[in-house]
């Protein structure tokens, strides 16, 4: 039994394939038909299929019915609109797949690459696929669906745009718990630049600016003095690049110092004295490992074989390893088992 239904269309002379998960199609049709003027007609057709006794025939008839009504009700229209907005989408990818998200957390779009080798430099159009995960309820609400698509697809446009220079993965030094912080910061910045562009086109309400500003100030609390300027730089101006967003997310103060216009006259509170090589978090209290006991050095090296004991670590990591050695040494005060 098939899982997907495809809607082929031609754009700029090339054929492009949009595919929908059948479960998504069925659920969207069932939702939108409630109270629709044509509900009676739809029900009549659908009720008849329940009489089919062969399970395969029945399943196929249901699928065909829902596909047909999906097209009849024009539920794919916002998708067509968005592809027309940004021709790079269809020019640089060959297929867009819409699948049902199992939870609201999964909702979003991503770009999948059929890379043969990890370092393969050039990818052709047929090696790139857009995958959009969404709920049927979202698909039914055409205006919300359009805004969702504009947001998600503008991210994809950035990923495809050579000027933006998107690269998957973050620098090696950001592995460990700090990686999550960096990811979150990067996501917030990227979303700001995307919504800023959509806002300028008049597609988003003004409240979106305030929401992003609040998030920006919470994410980068040390920039309070320059908040408005910096926020406006990302939200109102552009174009920005992947590298720019990443270096700002990694170290905003350093980024500012190297940016002539915005950085001029900027006084920031430094957010650290440097980085702990073990946990990758910035810290004010870095310790020279020379002062640590030999046992502790061995313990740390066991867990971090690539660590060079010349490199400073933070107070918290030192505490952690010391506490661990105490636990190992601890003996039960009294044994209750004779």
């Amino acid at each position: 039994m098939k899982n997907l239904t495809s809607v082929d269309f031609r754009t700029h002379g090339k054929s492009y394939c949009v595919e929908y998960h059948l479960q998504l199609v069925e659920e969207a049709v069932l939702r939108i038909i409630r109270g629709h003027p044509k509900e009676g007609l739809f029900r009549k057709e659908r009720d008849r299929i329940y009489e089919f006794t062969d399970p395969e025939e029945r399943e196929e008839a249901f699928q065909q019915l829902h596909e047909r009504w999906f097209n009849h009700l024009n539920l794919g229209e916002p998708v067509q609109q968005v592809f027309k907005l940004w021709p790079i989408l269809t020019a640089s990818t060959h297929r867009c797949l819409f699948i049902k998200a199992r939870s609201t957390r999964e909702i979003g779009a991503d770009l999948y690459l059929a890379r043969v080798k990890r370092d393969q430099p050039e990818l052709s159009r047929t090696e790139r696929t857009i995958v959009v995960q969404l709920t049927p309820e979202l698909l039914c609400q055409s205006s919300q669906f359009l805004v969702f698509l504009q947001r998600e697809m503008l991210h994809i446009v950035d990923m495809l745009d050579p000027y933006f220079g998107y690269e998957s993965g973050f620098p090696k030094r950001s592995l460990g718990p700090y990686h999550r912080v960096l990811q979150e910061r990067y996501k917030i910045l990227w979303d700001i630049t995307v919504d800023g562009r959509l806002y300028k086109k008049g597609w988003l309400p003004s409240s979106v600016r305030e929401t992003h500003k609040m998030l920006f100030s919470r994410t980068f609390p040390s920039l309070q003095g320059e908040l408005e300027n910096l926020f406006s730089y990302f939200f109102d101006q552009g174009p920005h690049t992947h590298q720019e967003l990443l270096s700002f997310a990694q170290n905003p103060e350093k980024w500012l110092a190297g940016t002539t216009d915005i950085g001029r006259g900027f006084k920031s509170t430094p957010s650290s004295k440097g980085w702990c090589v073990l946990c990758q978090f910035p810290s004010f209290q870095l310790i020279n490992p020379v002062d640590l006991s030999a046992d502790l050095l061995v313990q740390i090296q066991q867990e971090h074989p690539t660590w060079n004991p010349q490199e400073p670590i933070c107070w918290q990591c030192k505490d952690l390893y010391e506490a661990r050695s105490l636990i190992v040494e601890a003996k039960p005060v009294k044994s209750y088992i004779n």
């Binding site: 409630r34 109270g35 029900r43 659908r46 939870s103 709920t135 049927p136 309820e137 998030l215």
Partner: protein
């Protein structure tokens, strides 16, 4: 719209379907003061009825942590909100001559004002897939206020009084006297059995319109994607009928009742009057708990479906929350439960002493075994006996208020 009498509301109400009343009605009492959320009931039902393909998200029996939890997510908040929007500020109870009356609108009455969509006969909503998918999500996770990321609620854990409260709400289909699901089905595929009032979906008539799912305020009808047919709790009818191989021809309580570790559940079949009220049956334990002792209250009576699931409310929960959930009888119910008379204390011993349905009981006085004070009030406890009888009047078992203690002979100490 035809009018029917809803005793839980203390008045007549509109019901958009012909009402038909069974000879007896499947009903149950849950003492949620005792539920420990072990989910044995949930799993008993799942492993019996909903373990097949397409039923993965179905939990006909479920236990949710209130106030945060709900299956489907936020079901009660959503329907309460819809009712409030349809009748702003009007969802209130009045008291006349010592009896309560609901002055607001039920899901049937409010539907006239606010139809969603217009073809509906009952006010309701259709949950989204993800609302069914994680039955106990967020119940053990702290969460901040909505729309304010990176912030926690600061009120819950303030000293000196620990203000946080919660309780476990065990739920199954209420086999309502005026079922919303039944009224909403355009194909009359849902019916109420005349012999026991159990509400069933006729699997050969259902065409998956899902109007029942939209209309059931308790969200106890579920859609099966692979058959495209709605399903719901069947009240384990083979057991209730006495046709289950295990029951030896005697009416037996359902799987979820029998599995209850906390012994919070008692299920029975109450006699009905031709007008849909309960016929007087003083010594039926369910009748006694609901109509005589008045310790067990219907779940969200204001919805108007006259649910046949009754709850002894949790005594530690703030009263306004309980009034909303169980109606105006809460204070009286908790007072009586916390200071039970001799008969109530004896009837509470019937819970889960047997898996057979108790049709009546007899109370026999026993000797005084304790005298003292409890929460500042004098209390005397007697070792009274309660005797349970089955369908044909046969004795099922007898038990006493004081739990019998059996001492093992000394030579077995610490042996396995």
């Amino acid at each position: 719209m035809p009018k029917v009498y809803n005793w839980q509301l203390g008045r007549n109400m509109e019901y958009p379907h012909e009402a038909a009343f069974p000879k007896r009605q499947f009903a149950f009492v849950f003492n949620i003061n005792r539920c420990i959320a072990c989910q044995s009931c949930t799993m008993a039902c799942k492993s019996t009825w909903t373990f097949s393909k397409g039923q993965e998200h179905m939990w006909w029996a479920n236990v949710e942590t209130k106030p945060y939890g709900g299956y489907p997510q936020f079901w009660d908040m959503k329907i309460l909100k819809l009712l409030e929007e349809a009748n702003p500020g009007g969802q209130v109870w009045s008291k006349k001559d010592g009896t309560f009356q609901f002055e607001g609108q039920t899901i049937f009455e409010a539907a006239k004002k606010k139809l969603t969509p217009e073809s509906s006969r009952v006010l309701g909503y259709l949950p989204e897939d993800h609302e069914w998918n994680s039955p106990n999500i967020y119940e053990d996770n702290p969460k901040g206020p909505k729309g304010q990321p990176f912030q926690w609620d600061k009120e819950g854990v303030q000293l000196p009084v620990h203000k946080t409260w919660f309780f476990y709400l065990a739920r199954i289909c209420n086999h309502c006297t005026y079922p919303g699901c039944l009224a909403a089905c355009p194909r009359n595929a849902i019916y109420k059995r005349p012999e026991d009032g159990i509400v069933l979906v006729d699997q050969s008539e259902c065409r998956g319109y899902r109007k029942c799912i939209e209309a059931c305020p308790y969200k106890k009808v579920m859609y099966r994607g692979n058959t495209r047919i709605s399903e719901k709790c069947i009240a384990c009818y083979p057991r209730v009928e006495g046709n289950d191989p295990e029951s030896n021809g005697k009416p037996m309580e359902t799987r979820c009742m029998a599995a209850c570790i906390g012994q919070i559940r008692l299920q029975g079949l109450v006699k009905m009057n031709p007008d849909g009220t309960w016929a007087e049956d003083r010594y039926n334990p369910i009748y006694y708990l609901v109509h005589v002792a008045k310790v067990a209250l219907p779940l969200y009576p204001q919805f108007g479906t006259a649910p046949n699931g009754y709850y002894i409310p949790p005594r530690w929960v703030p009263r306004p929350y309980l009034y909303q959930m169980f109606g105006p009888g809460v204070d009286e119910a908790i007072e009586r439960y916390m200071n039970p008379d001799r008969e109530l204390l004896a009837v509470l011993q019937l819970f889960r002493r047997s898996n057979l349905i108790i049709f009546s009981y007899k109370f026999e006085e026993g000797p005084k075994i304790f005298e003292g004070t409890l929460r500042g009030k004098p209390v005397t406890i007697y070792n009274d006996t309660v005797i349970a009888y089955g369908k044909e009047g046969e004795e099922l078992f007898r038990t006493t208020v004081e739990e019998p203690v059996y001492e093992r002979p000394a030579q077995h100490a610490n042996s396995i």
